[in-house]
């Protein structure tokens, strides 16, 4: 048993999952992740490097990821904004890497030391262009560890960046946890093709497939330009569509295992939907309500924030007459949930965006 913060658990999860490269830039409230990595990585022969800014950090991570290392960076709002161009590159060039965003209040410098969940849409649409994205939101210290391990697996399977959307509360709170001794980690299948037969973006290689990295003699070419299956740029409309469809398929064909949710009592009339640290208050409100009224209410926690699985959530929320979305922003996930329930249920949102955690009482007030 250990007393750990969410940030420390995230770093330890990364180490356990085989992350051996970390490039970062100090920013509150994520800095502890970099500090733990700076101390622990050399012990396992890994590399920690403090870069000159977040742009350089994500680029170094992409360089290492493209070179076959499990690579990660951690940041918060302003740094996450700077990393967006790199995230787009990693999507386009299909480079696995992990970006942790310990959310704080925004926009701009906002609230460095206070909590927020306002980067839900920045995670989805922060980088330009049509693109898939995967984002996971831990709600406890243990889950910070577990989801970091999962994020590594997802990114290696899908050949793309995976975002961990933590938040200031999760990052800084301490819990007593028992971390697993061993974790099983996916490795891409070994390359069997020779250099002459190999195409870095061959058909059916967009997920769960072998792929080369720098330093293996495959002479691969990576570019952010829209490219052919050999990696070289093209303006051919057919190939452009092929490439963007190929990226999208990473999500559409894997949505079932990518979409992680936690739920209880969904046959109730009222269901609270939440994620990250807000979900802790939501769960507390559920228990409190049930004790006071001797009546069950449902609870649905999104662990995978992106991709958003409309059909699955529709089915999970099909009995609900009232859906209460609890989040620390002006309603970013509420809009998504409204598209799930349409007019079949009443939608109530409980939001705070003043840097303070939503209290169970505030949720109880609308129940």
């Amino acid at each position: 048993m250990q007393l750990l913060s969410g940030n420390e658990a995230t770093a330890l999860g990364a180490l356990k999952a085989g992350v051996r490269f970390f490039a970062g830039y100090p920013i509150t409230p994520s800095t502890e992740i970099a500090e733990v990595m700076a101390e622990e990585l050399p012990k396992v022969g890994g590399i920690f490097i403090q870069m000159e800014d977040e742009i350089a950090s994500i680029c170094a991570v992409i360089g290492a990821g493209a070179s076959g290392m499990r690579a990660m960076t951690a940041t918060s709002g302003p740094g996450f904004s700077l990393m967006q161009e790199g995230i787009g590159y990693a999507v386009m060039a299909e480079v696995p890497c992990i970006i942790v965003n310990v959310q704080r209040g925004g926009p701009a410098t906002g609230l460095p030391t206070k909590v927020s969940q306002a980067d839900v849409m920045a995670a989805r649409w922060g980088t330009h262009g049509d693109h898939p994205i995967v984002a996971l939101a831990p709600y406890s210290v243990l889950e910070s560890f577990e989801l970091t391990v999962k994020a590594v697996e997802f990114s290696l399977r899908l050949r793309m960046p995976v975002i961990i959307l933590s938040d200031e509360i999760i990052g800084h709170m301490r819990e007593v946890v028992k971390l697993p001794e061993e974790v099983t980690i996916y490795s891409p299948p070994p390359l069997t093709k020779s250099r002459d037969e190999y195409y870095h973006y061959d058909d059916d290689t967009n997920f769960d497939a072998p792929y080369a990295h720098f330093g293996q003699g495959y002479r691969i070419h990576l570019t952010g330009l829209t490219h052919r299956k050999d990696g070289f740029p093209t303006n051919d409309p057919k190939i452009i569509k092929w490439k963007l469809d190929r990226l999208l398929e990473k999500i559409t064909k894997n949505r079932e295992w990518l979409h992680l949710v936690d739920y209880q009592d969904l046959d109730s009339d009222t269901v609270i939907v939440s994620y990250g640290s807000s979900a802790r208050s939501a769960l507390e409100a559920k228990f409190e309500y049930e004790q006071r009224h001797n009546k069950k209410i449902g609870f649905l926690r999104l662990i995978t924030i992106w991709p958003f699985h409309y059909q699955k959530l529709q089915s999970l929320l099909k009995n609900a007459k009232r859906v209460i979305v609890v989040e620390m922003n002006q309603g970013q996930m509420t809009r998504e949930i409204s598209r799930v329930i349409k007019h079949n249920a009443e939608l109530i949102n409980v939001n705070r965006y003043d840097g303070e955690l939503i209290t169970p009482e505030e949720i109880l007030a609308v129940l």
Partner: protein, 275 residues
């Protein structure tokens, strides 16, 4: 050297013809780079060529090796990741003046300070070629560019002076006229352990040259021939005024980043404990 040896390093089959304009200097710089790689005894799979965005940054696409065409300005931090993951690879960055000195300026100075082993070939043609001839950080004051139709109001960077001041251990300059000299400098840069910069003064006859009435590529090369001075020939600093100074401008020893980090790994592993 026989010509075919170069082709060992070029993706001849699918990638040619190239995108460069007639008379462009970037091909000469690429030629010098490839020959320097070969003369250094390196094979295709020993190198990784990294670039950003721009005309010069399209070069890796023609090189038959691991090649990494990154984001605008981000060649150096991307190369940093590759080099640290594969210290055995010879990592060569080749990019233009706008890429390395404007949008990538911060990365440029910090990489020089950090002194991770890499060779940076800066092709300076005094303007943004890919986007059509806009002014760059190296456009001299008073010269014309598409975004400086009345003459450029700003002063220009001296990339070599910046690199030296920032901690680069090897700094050299040549031109696309002095191709043999350039090749020798790139070879020295490859051999150097640490951050090594070779600035290549290059002609862009299509844009910068035309906008400034400098004549065709040959005229521009003649200008380079007639207006350069080797650093070894300068006895009085006045002789260098108005001239392009070429040669090895700076060559010192300093601890290389990864060598230093390896020592940290050794120490950390000697006193292992977990948080």
């Amino acid at each position: 050297m026989k010509i075919p040896e170069i082709f060992e390093f070029i993706r001849v089959d699918e990638r040619l013809p190239h995108i460069l304009c007639p008379g462009c200097g970037i091909g000469s710089a690429m030629n010098a780079m490839v020959r320097a790689i070969i003369e250094s005894g390196l094979k295709n799979d020993d190198v990784c060529v990294v670039s950003g965005i721009g005309c010069s940054s399209r070069i890796p696409g023609y090189i038959d090796a691991d090649t990494f065409h990154t984001l605008h300005g981000r060649a150096i931090p991307s190369a940093t990741g590759v080099k640290l993951a594969h210290p055995e690879l010879e990592v060569i960055v080749i990019a233009g003046d706008g890429d390395l000195l404007a949008i990538g300026g911060n990365h440029f100075i910090h990489a020089a300070r950090r002194n991770l082993d890499m060779t940076v070939i800066l092709i300076n043609n005094f303007n943004y070629g890919m986007t059509g001839g806009q002014a760059s950080p190296t456009t001299p004051q008073g010269k014309y560019a598409k975004t400086a139709p009345y003459g450029w109001t700003e002063r220009n960077f001296d990339a070599c002076a910046i690199a030296q001041a920032s901690g680069a251990v090897f700094v050299a300059r040549s031109t696309t006229y002095h191709v043999t000299h350039l090749r020798t400098l790139i070879k020295q840069a490859i051999k150097k352990k640490g951050f090594a910069l070779v600035e290549v003064i290059s002609q862009c006859p299509t844009l910068y040259g035309r906008l400034n009435r400098m004549g065709d590529a040959v005229k521009m090369l003649e200008y380079f021939r007639d207006n350069t001075i080797s650093i070894s020939q300068i006895k009085d600093p006045k002789e260098a005024e108005g001239k392009i100074v070429i040669g090895v401008l700076h060559d010192v020893e300093a601890p290389e980043y990864y060598e230093t980090y390896k020592e940290i790994i050794r120490r950390a592993q000697a006193q292992k404990h977990h948080v």
